[in-house]
Symmetry: C3
Amino acid sequence: MSQPVIALFTDFGVSDPYVGQMHARLVAEAPQARIVDLHHYAPAFSPGPAGLLLEALVPHLTPGSVVVGVVDPGVGTARGSLALATDEHWFVGPDNGLFASVLEAREGRCFRLREPEGDGLSVSFHGRDLFGPAAAALARGDRMVLGEEVAEPVRAEARRDAVLYVDHYGNLMTGLVPPEDGGARLRVEGRNIPFARTFGEVGPGELFWYRNSLDRVEIAAREGSAAKRLGAGTGTAVAWIGGV
Amino acid sequence: MSQPVIALFTDFGVSDPYVGQMHARLVAEAPQARIVDLHHYAPAFSPGPAGLLLEALVPHLTPGSVVVGVVDPGVGTARGSLALATDEHWFVGPDNGLFASVLEAREGRCFRLREPEGDGLSVSFHGRDLFGPAAAALARGDRMVLGEEVAEPVRAEARRDAVLYVDHYGNLMTGLVPPEDGGARLRVEGRNIPFARTFGEVGPGELFWYRNSLDRVEIAAREGSAAKRLGAGTGTAVAWIGGV
Amino acid sequence: MSQPVIALFTDFGVSDPYVGQMHARLVAEAPQARIVDLHHYAPAFSPGPAGLLLEALVPHLTPGSVVVGVVDPGVGTARGSLALATDEHWFVGPDNGLFASVLEAREGRCFRLREPEGDGLSVSFHGRDLFGPAAAALARGDRMVLGEEVAEPVRAEARRDAVLYVDHYGNLMTGLVPPEDGGARLRVEGRNIPFARTFGEVGPGELFWYRNSLDRVEIAAREGSAAKRLGAGTGTAVAWIGGV
């Protein structure tokens, strides 16, 4: 791989100086790597739902990426670290279920990370001090950061039939994979939501669900916010009417 | 061009995973290109005003940039695509008037884009699936993505005498080019707004207009928000008093 | 330095087109440099507190960085410019006290910048027109942008015993360096705040202070917002109980 790619997937947001420090460190430790800010508003403190969102993004990663995933409510406790190797990518982060959905969908091998020696490891920012440097090492082709193999990585609760993410338009992304034949109806907060292929097929303000660009079920309102219309948010349950 | 530059101008915001997916794709398809996030809060769903803002930014692009412009309320409908070649830059995006102001101000030739074959084109994210890859191709020097020439690209309504953008300080950027002799007065929401060269020339809280760093008329309040003071926002009309 | 690094530290935010224009310019003028967005929500209009935050970030810069620091309420007035050379980094920005804390903590030499000739200097955006290009020159190894040496750079008021920054979790970062023996108590808004090593050591909702990843005192609430709990924000005073 002539130009390795490190992709960041975190719940750090982009207003605080955390992502910037990760970049500064990655540039120092993997000068040849490109860094892609894939997403920094993963469901906060929620490794399960965040993992479902990450899993949906995998087909859209640059081939051969090293993903640093940091949704890490247990930082500073005894939770372990994880490096997951799949056919195409590496995933580096906490062993708290964040990568469980990725691993369910494909073959992979898991390893602990060797922790840096000395006092280089803060208690609250392993993205900068542990996962980032490990990803940089893997991007350089250095496997010395890998420790013992992990047979049973931690699982996390992750419901596909719920809202995983609300985007800034107010669209509600779920973890559901749409049925091949399309037209089933969905029930959300007591409302029946019909299918439409795209925004152009419904009237202004109308609620519908469609197959989004990650091949998942997404609920939207044309020229409006489905989140506001439905009073729905992250975690809101959704259900097929009459099954799929 | 030893290091091509791809500049992104969208209304995607920076909190959702959309820009990250564009980067992941561009890095894959144009590994030698630099990617510049020029602006991701263009006036949403408003190709006309967004185009005026883009036009003001053109002199500040890296020379030789390929601009991906995505303000695309018609994605998934029959609206066409556009690649606009000017003397210095490429502009790639929807044919909905977004590039009309750029084209009014300089010579250029327009082309349709060839759509990718197979099922690679989502109905809702042409920035990732069509415009991004086309820009990557142009950045690599590959002209095969260009289809037939477009003689009459779509126009969009775009008033210069209105607020195009409110920045996070509350400054109101308009599309007006200031008169050379400077001192005309402006009328906004029933208030007369005097000219000042810079913030240091007025008292704290005072409203004024000045020639901003894009050579456009901008209304500001020293150490305050002109937007709040005037109750103004995107689309608010502005007028010269007595003409210019 | 085979790959120079330019790090940006500003109060521009990431929603406006300002940072994008800086990138476009830097890519043009220092094509070999990597650009790191270190932080764009420095305390607005407050060079003193912003400087304390920057000083805490210095150990986490990529070695050999050229930092462009722009917190510049006096742009367009007669305030001078500054390039500060320390053993390891360059700092380029306004001479308004922004770099005073960096300079207090280490040796350094200060210079004025030569201003660009012609009409290339806007009155309101020296980050793009003056500091960015000067940083690009330094990153290229070009010292011609340096003017006369500055013996007495401007100082700015900067209290360490105050909240410098509130992150998006509601954690309150101060400028205080924690005592080596750890356990002192802090008083904030009339409340006594005990020490804990990490979030895992306190109960849900509990307020505590800890040594954060920048080696500074930070006040937090487990799974909650310390800012909301305390009604505290940027500038709120903090004090050790009984001294340290």
